[in-house]
Symmetry: C2
Subunit: 463 residues, 2 copies
């Protein structure tokens, strides 16, 4: 049966996890496999996994026509805050310290279950429509069940956790919690949601930053993460002044985390802007992954992370949009283009080739999450997280003799994403969401945003 | 009569210059007028010019429904090479010196009339679809008539000129010309095309750079530009090594141009990355405009231009994508986002606000071209160069209490552009070109690209 992609999506999406067989026919496939092959090939998917590529199958339960399109592994973002999507456009022109103090803490503090849910759904539809199929996210201190609910319903792959903040200071006390509460709630969430939705959702412990948690909490988190086999996801070395303050307080961020034993497990640190050579070696040797967030690092005036140096030394570096209020999008194409461009003035035009950047957004994102055997490339046996890019736009010509990876990184934009599969489930087809109603999600997000802003205005906390 | 925007476009476009009356109804208008007003207002257009805003007219020959959309002045780019669009994706990971020597000189040298025409048309459709209504461009040494032909046919507003290169060196000799030829051809083009197409097209003399022309040619160009009242458009202070070399050769770029008398007329210099405080003062005091090309400056590893410092000192700074091979798009939204982000790490999160960046892409672009009484804002009496942005995408929510200018600069993308008018002529409606066949333009560009690349391969010049 060969249907139009949209009808196909509606049909397929009735079978969660993409049961049945599916053929993606006629596309130019950027595999990101170990040989980085690019081939005109069909992909045969069975029960949510890639069964054969190139495939000799000529039929399947459903066929997607990818003629004239690029076929890529779904993009992976390793640092996102879904709960912040509602605050987009309401926190501009502030450095990270003021941005947190004047906007993010007061706003996160007045979130309710519904507003977190609506915020997550808005972020998720933006991610899916822009070709991101997997996100590692940190949510706020409360209501993280709402995010898991949104994730379970929508089909995005994610590793998520609640922010942990038990070290109360002037700025953070409004959103903080006790050590015991923080740990209890995190463990309950991990128990409920780790490896849920058929393995599509995972839990990550998220101490918000080295300075936002007590050592006692860090110790417990590290032990729990080891025991449960989960990621620990935190912020580190984002801002120059922050990183200087920590120097008087037990060493720089990375050394401090290493001293705690956090680097012994599977650790993902967002930013790593202010790291020296020794810290880069620590990150590399411990297998700690860095989430590079170029737009957010610039918008919050944090700086330029030494990504080429980190990659050269063997650090696993993924890409992330961070939260909507410091970006202001959740667009992996923006982050790829930024990552490719911003390091060249300092180190030369050869650094951060398109190939390297696409590795960060795919297979290195997967490695960051310990999911490199499951996602991050198009290979037989892997989960069918696949995106198709339309190549019709004027910004994509000429096409002969042009490296499609150069096109993906420098030229393509989120609006070129035509089709998105997660676990073989068609979530976007011909540019249309198959299961979700974007208009309804936008309207509910708007309503929740109004409620949250009214509440924060009444509280007087927003300056 | 109220038609769907697409039918309307087809209808209106039959009257070049947008004869008749037109009402843009129900949009949120970002005027960029001197008070920077943003208003829910209708715009009444008559014979290609804005007649009334806000307008009390309720009818017109044609009505465009802008409900739910942002209405903005058409975006202006002050540094573009239309003739290079065919080379997109074929010149990556090179600094500007090698990029010119290994790619651009050999490729421009083998251009023929048709390939220049096809390259320009490809660039023009990308610009129009992305909301750019005016471009200041430098073309190659030969076949600039082909660019004017493409511009005349397509409806983009442009100030264009042939590159002048009479100082032959090892790298540039393949593309160079004699002083006399250069001047003769430039004058002939100026005579033919300056103020043509009802004033929509203008001529600019384009000595390619301080070092690409003899002083004799510079002297003649400056005199001719003064006499004809045209712009002089050149590159300056782009690359550190280039700028150092010039130090042994008559001062830095800006001082050299000033010494020649070039700053006495209407001068636009692209890049100005390597300028010191004294040169910034020279630029400001002489009314010289700078075209800031953030993506190109990063991709070619040129550096970060001191744009906030230049603007503080009163330099007029516009924005440009430069050529497709060093970007790789001609997307004003990319350049706005880049300009807003890249200067913050050095100078703080407050610099380059969205408001300032949109000024660069609109009214300051107009001032760069001496066209600030004609374009660059939505005010009665100005030409009806107007764009509409769709606000439906997930990346544009929430919308209440969000500054639409923040949305334009940080969130909107080229694909949100729904409608484009130049001189009141509807060139894009509901995202579709009304007069041009994009598929045909892409196919012809592809054909010309193949021919040019075959020719350059045969010549052995491309490494």
């Amino acid at each position: 049966m060969c249907l139009g992609a949209y009808e196909l999506g509606r049909l397929l999406s009735r079978a969660p996890g993409g049961a049945g067989s599916l053929l993606i026919r006629g596309g130019l496939v950027v595999t990101m496999n170990p040989r980085r092959e690019i081939m005109s090939a069909d992909i045969y998917v069975e029960d949510g996994r890639i069964a054969e590529i190139p495939s000799r199958h000529t039929a399947a339960d459903l066929v997607i026509d990818a003629t004239g399109q690029l076929v890529l592994p779904g993009l992976i973002q390793t640092h996102v805050h879904l709960c912040q999507t509602l605050f987009r456009g309401s926190a501009d022109d502030l450095d990270v310290v003021e941005w947190l103090r004047q906007r993010i803490w007061p706003l996160e503090q007045v979130h309710d279950f519904t507003s977190v849910y609506d915020s997550a759904r808005l972020g998720i539809v933006e991610l899916l429509r822009g070709g991101t199929t997997t996100a590692l996210t940190i949510e706020t201190v409360r209501h993280t069940e709402a995010v898991f609910m949104a994730l379970a319903e929508t089909g995005l792959r994610a590793v998520t956790g609640k922010a942990m903040m038990d070290r109360l200071e002037v700025a953070t006390e409004m959103i903080g919690e006790t050590t015991e509460e923080s740990l209890r709630e995190s463990l309950a969430l991990a128990k409920e949601y780790h490896q849920s939705s058929g393995g599509r959702l995972g839990y990550a412990f998220c101490p918000r930053g080295p300075r936002n948690c007590t050592e006692e909490l860090w110790d417990s988190v590290i032990a729990a993460a080891m025991e449960l086999g989960t990621i620990v996801h935190t912020h580190a070395a984002e801002n120059f002044l922050q990183s200087q303050r920590l120097k008087t307080d037990g060493g720089t961020d990375i050394r401090y985390l290493h001293g705690l034993g956090a680097t012994a497990g599977r650790l993902v640190v967002a930013h790593a802007v202010w790291v020296d050579e020794e810290e880069i070696a620590l990150l590399a040797d411990s297998g700690t992954a860095v989430a590079h967030c170029p737009s957010a690092n610039m918008k919050l005036a944090s700086g330029f992370a030494p990504v080429p140096e980190m990659r050269d030394r063997g650090v696993i570096v993924g890409l992330g949009a961070d939260g909507a209020p410091c970006n202001n999008t959740l667009d992996a194409f923006h982050e790829m283009r930024m990552a490719a461009l911003i390091h060249k003035p300092r180190l030369g035009a050869q650094v951060m080739s398109a190939q390297e950047v696409l590795e960060m957004a795919t297979i290195d994102g997967a490695r960051s999450l310990g999911l490199e055997l499951e996602i991050g490339s198009l290979e037989a046996g892997k989960r069918a997280d696949i995106i198709l890019l339309n190549r019709e736009g004027s910004h994509l010509w000429p096409q002969s003799n042009v490296d499609p990876i150069v096109q993906v990184v420098y030229q393509h934009r989120a609006s070129d994403v035509s089709t998105v599969l997660v676990d073989g489930r068609v979530l976007l087809a011909d540019g249309e969401l198959t299961e979700l109603d974007a208009d309804e999600i936008h309207a509910r997000a708007e309503e929740s945003a109004r409620r949250v802003f009214a509440r924060v205005a009444a509280s007087g906390a927003l300056r």
